[in-house]
Amino acid sequence: MQQRLARGEEAALGELYDRFATLVHGLAHRVMGDEEAAGLITREVFGYIWENPDAYDPKDGNMRSWIATLTQRQAVGKLRSCEAERVASGGERISEQFEERVREANTAARADFIRDSMPASIRAALDLAYLQRRDYRQAAHELGLTEVEARRRMRLGLQMLSTAIQHEHPGGTR
């Protein structure tokens, strides 16, 4: 994919978008909390990748997580600069709420990542309970599991997700 981008293949750019647009837009939306801003971040992120096809080094991890990091940085940076602008133009400094928002956004981004990368079997159990509103017995039946195993997967999945919440860093400067 990277080589194709470097060669300037428009078709590769389309494939890149199809693979990662949901991720990029979703993360950006979580941070910015608004559709238009999320669209702009999405444009920026893909623009950057297309313009700098060599910026990604496979040694840094898989492309998906690299793009997620890029998006997160871009979005939080944008959020900060908007806030700085607001304060500069006489707005009241509300750093506490602002940092809280950045922290929530970071938590959400980590949760996105964990959700996307957890084993499909765990994810399936969570999705059945959360999205399809099954109780764990129904979920066990649908997944062909014992009830004990369905409970275990639900608990494990939530435990994994809960690691996205940082309790130690209320300042959340990341």
Partner: protein, 490 residues
């Protein structure tokens, strides 16, 4: 990454992941290394050492996210019952006097969830469950996926077990993080804007030819729809309609149909295509489709989806490298041959129409193509119409009289006025496909919406049900609309 609990957990003979989960959940950030996770996850050490959760908490003992934390700290509470023999060497006791967290009710699946876990008043005595059972229920409880009795029992337990109460709080907060992004929230127009911005910053050296643009956009839209389907949706019954037939098929079969017919173009370009390039493969789209269903009927939805998508990507790539000039290349397409540029526009239109069929079957909203793409589809249909009309005349199906006109000479025409975005004016020659349709020769005028017109040519509207303004020679209008409706096939 350590795995200090899982394998020792007597509740789970398979270890933390069970036999069917080759991926260790704790590995989620391993392959990628430190840059893997949105900033923070690694630096915080919250996966790794558990210290982020504080000493003395349920996680103080080094839960590493890689296995179900078994909460196996020595615990002398009333439900312990000595049942837990697991020795989590690194777990710590709850410090005496630690205040019990107050645990609100689980929030349930989604905020909009109409039916909660039915907070049942404990009219009967709380059933007795042992501590490890209650603990194992915490995930399901946080997800509001327990029975009412279990919910009652868990909640009673939380008031006097600090360990479980602590975990319950964390899991309930985690449920909040489950809320998914809705892929359909992605504005379909965003793709074009993003790609345009990219190409403005750095022009493509290998562009997608303009005539392949509709195919690129429509396959991307259908792909987004397919990715959002639940597994049950793939078996939804979809009605396919064409001018002289219809059938009910599954979503997977619709995609198989698209794959099989796209494969005609792939084969013409020398690409490998799903049916193989054997001479025995039928050229007729309906026959090809049946052959595909017959041969690959047992494929999973994911395979069907991937095969279609990969072929589409490969097609775009191939025509991009072939370049703009390849648009004139004749490809066998159904009973006729078409220039590649027209064949791909036709494939784009079929993709849109069938995506609409699928969307309707699973009750999703699905809009029309971008105006400039819709325009190309209408234009192709308008250019195809005279030939179809001539065919109907030869078959004795036309009612309006014809006149002899020399090829290339202006003759009578029907003024097709397509309203709305992507519309325009076309003058359909009536006397011969080789004649030139002109405004001056117009003997009839039909005005209709672009999407309506495409639905007509796709066999999704009958001429009688069409919302179209009509003026002039009735017989001519009737013949042209019938020809438009007759263009569709399976």
């Amino acid at each position: 990454m350590t795995d200090s609990h899982g394998p020792d957990d007597p509740q789970d003979p398979h270890g933390p992941e069970g036999p069917d989960e080759p991926d260790r959940p704790g590995d989620r950030n391993d392959p990628a290394g430190p840059a893997d996770v949105p900033r923070g996850a690694h630096e915080s050490g919250s996966y790794e050492d558990g210290s982020a959760y504080g000493n003395g908490s349920a996680y103080g003992g080094g839960y590493d996210g890689s296995g179900p934390y078994d909460g196996s700290a020595p615990y002398d509470g009333p439900h312990d019952g000595g049942a837990r023999r697991e020795v989590g060497g690194s777990t710590r006791p709850v410090p005496p006097g630690r205040p019990l967290p107050r645990v609100p009710l689980p929030r349930g699946a989604a905020e909009d969830r109409p039916l909660g876990p039915a907070p049942v008043p404990p009219v009967t005595p709380v059933p007795s469950y042992d501590h490890s059972t209650l603990k194992s229920l915490l995930g399901a409880w946080a997800l509001a996926a327990c029975s009412p009795e279990e919910t009652t029992a868990v909640e009673a337990h939380l008031t006097d077990c600090a360990l479980c109460a602590d975990e319950a709080l964390r899991l309930r907060d985690a449920v909040e993080l489950l809320r998914p992004e809705d892929p359909l929230d992605l504005d379909p127009l965003l793709r074009a804007r993003v790609l345009e911005n990219c190409l403005g910053r750095r022009p493509a050296r290998v562009p997608v030819p303009e005539w392949a643009g509709p195919y690129d956009a429509e396959t991307a839209r259908l792909d987004a729809l397919l990715r959002d389907l639940g597994s049950g949706d793939w078996n939804a019954s979809v009605r396919l309609e064409w001018h002289d037939g219809s059938c009910d098929v599954t979503v997977a079969e619709v995609i198989g149909h698209l794959t099989a017919v796209d494969g005609l173009i792939a084969a013409a370009l020398g690409m490998s295509e799903p049916l193989g390039t054997g001479a025995q493969d039928p050229i007729d789209p309906a026959e090809r489709t049946k052959a595909y269903w017959h041969r690959f009927g047992d494929r999973s939805p994911a395979e069907v989806h991937d095969t279609w998508r990969e072929q589409g990507h490969a097609l775009l790539r191939t025509v991009s490298f072939a370049g703009r000039a390849a648009g004139g290349l004749d490809v066998p397409y159904g009973p006729a041959r078409l220039p590649l540029r027209d064949a791909l526009v036709d494939r784009a239109m079929e993709c849109w129409i069938h995506a609409g069929d699928i969307a309707e079957a699973v009750a999703y909203p699905y809009g029309p193509p971008a105006p400039r793409h819709l325009h190309r589809m209408i234009d192709l249909a308008a250019r195809t119409l005279p030939g179809v009309l001539a065919g109907r005349r030869r078959a004795g199906l036309a009612v309006s009289p014809t006149r002899l006109v020399a090829a290339g000479a202006p003759g009578r025409s029907l003024h097709l006025e397509v309203e709305g975005a992507g519309g325009g004016d076309w003058y359909i020659p009536l006397d011969s496909p080789a004649a030139v349709g002109t405004a001056a020769g117009s003997v009839a005028h039909v005005a209709l919406d672009g999407v309506e017109f495409c639905q007509l040519t796709a066999g999704h509207r009958s001429p009688q049900d069409l919302a179209a303004g009509q003026e002039g020679d009735r017989a001519v209008i009737s013949d042209v609309l019938a020809a438009a409706a007759g263009m569709s096939r399976m």
